[in-house]
């Protein structure tokens, strides 16, 4: 029998090892799996490469993971925002590596990684500093740059509803990168607001089919990153 539900968020992330490549869903706080990130901070794995659109805000979630010195390298499109303080400080001090990727290229690299496509050509970033040193090729008289797919050891995502097979639905713009990340990791770990019976999610509305998911934990009332940031919360080990 297939049952991907696990007992706790701590158990769900317990084998994330030092040096792992970890994809983390979310665009700003929408879709950020904050409980799974905090359990990863409790676990303390080091030298992680994190693939996520942003670098978090305040001193919680991804920002706290970075502040706790667990992240060696960030692969992202927008590493600063209004309340982003941790990453900029470490980056200026030369203590964290950054691979800056145009947002659409980041999405496509993750999609390609999950789809068994090692690399692809894209028009984004041609003639800019982000294309420097990359292979370029012309198709129909236009230049394109070669970009490589990304695979991860683990993906951490947040969804709305999940069943024991791992079929997932999302909520509004909290979907963003998560369905792509589910496909691109060796082990995909999901925090779901609701666990439902198999069959309750109409097959026509399943966004992530269960084959892409390995572990699910129910978090009914996830913390709101913006509320934690506003109240000056720090999550440190």
């Amino acid at each position: 029998m297939i049952n991907k539900l696990v007992g706790s968020d701590a158990e769900a992330v317990s084998d994330i090892f030092d040096g792992a490549i970890v994809m983390i869903g979310g665009f700003g706080e929408a879709g950020s799996p904050i409980e799974l990130i905090h359990r990863l901070i409790d676990l303390g794995s080091k030298n992680l490469t994190v693939v996520s659109n942003n670098t978090g805000s305040g001193n919680v979630g991804i920002a706290a993971l970075i502040e706790n010195r667990q992240v060696r390298k960030m692969i992202c499109s927008f590493p600063r925002s209004t309340n982003s303080v941790v990453f900029p400080e470490l980056y200026r001090a030369g203590e964290i590596e950054l691979e800056l990727v145009p947002q659409g290229t980041l999405a496509e690299r993750i999609r390609a990684g999950g789809a068994g496509i090692p690399a692809f050509y894209t028009p984004s970033s041609v003639n800019t500093p982000l294309a420097e040193g990359k292979e370029q090729r012309e198709f129909n008289g236009q230049s394109y740059v070669l970009e490589y797919g990304i695979k991860a050891d683990f993906s951490l995502v947040k969804c709305q509803s999940a069943d024991r097979y791992g079929n997932l639905t999302y909520n509004k713009t909290a979907r963003n990168f998560s369905p792509l990340m589910c496909t691109a990791a060796e082990t995909t770990i999901v925090q779901a607001k609701y666990i439902v019976e198999a069959g309750e999610i109409d097959p026509e509305t399943v966004v992530t089919p269960g084959i892409f998911v390995n572990r699910i934990v129910e978090i009914n009332e996830p913390a709101h990153e913006s509320i934690l940031v506003a109240s000056g919360e720090r999550y440190l080990r």
Partner: protein
């Protein structure tokens, strides 16, 4: 002239000018900042569908106080609403819309635009600056029409319409039109062509504020 004194159109008037140029039925992506103002000025009877790259087609206005949803935001991470008939999708689909040429108009802010339509809007390249690109390079690479809305000069009076961009490029030869507080300027094969000027602005004054030679 005091370079900090605002002349020409106000920000609202600039947004109104750009809004009037959006054809009925267009699919439009508005950048963060001044471009966002444009949505408030589209005339009655014109239907425009707004795309936000974090996964929403059919973005509506800011919600009423008390109705904010942390999982319903725009690319600027501000609370928004979804219109009747909206759709949500993941990032690869969102950038398929952008890069695949399905969106009609992208309206962006700028640090610099050159006479050939090169755009610099993501980094000043200064030491200590945190580089952040977001979706800008994908938007200029894929959207059919790229418009820029920006003040004509920097706060300290520097050119923003330049012969060659000194800041790192977002894209080369990508901008079609620029809306500033002084004028509306088309980027053409021949050069920068002035389509409209704000009341009280002379062509000579406009030229003085613009590095490349302007065409009337």
């Amino acid at each position: 002239m005091n370079s900090t004194e605002r002349v020409g159109w106000s920000r609202i008037e600039m947004a109104q000018k750009a809004a009037l140029d959006i054809p009925d039925g267009s699919y439009v992506n508005l950048g963060i900042g001044m471009p966002e103002l444009i949505a408030d000025h589209v005339p009655e009877g014109i239907e425009v569908i707004y795309h936000t790259e974090n996964g929403l087609l059919g973005m509506g206005p800011v919600p009423e106080a008390g109705y904010e949803d942390v999982e319903l935001i725009n690319a600027g991470k501000k609370y928004v609403t979804a219109i009747q008939g909206a759709s949500f999708f993941h990032h690869a689909d969102s950038f398929t819309m952008i890069r695949g040429g399905h969106l009609d108009i992208s309206i962006l802010g700028a640090l610099q635009v050159c006479e050939k339509g090169d755009l610099a809007n993501w980094s000043t390249g200064k030491p200590g600056a945190i580089p952040a690109v977001g979706g800008a390079m994908d938007l200029v690479a894929g959207v059919k029409n790229v418009w820029v809305i920006t003040d004509h000069n920097t706060k300290d009076g520097q050119f923003k319409l330049v012969n060659n961009c000194s800041f790192p490029l977002t894209g080369k030869g990508v901008v079609d039109r620029v809306y500033t507080n002084l004028a509306i300027i088309e980027i053409t094969e021949e050069g920068l062509k002035v389509r409209d000027m704000a009341p009280g602005i002379t062509f000579e004054f406009l030229q003085e504020k613009t590095e490349p030679k302007l065409l009337q």
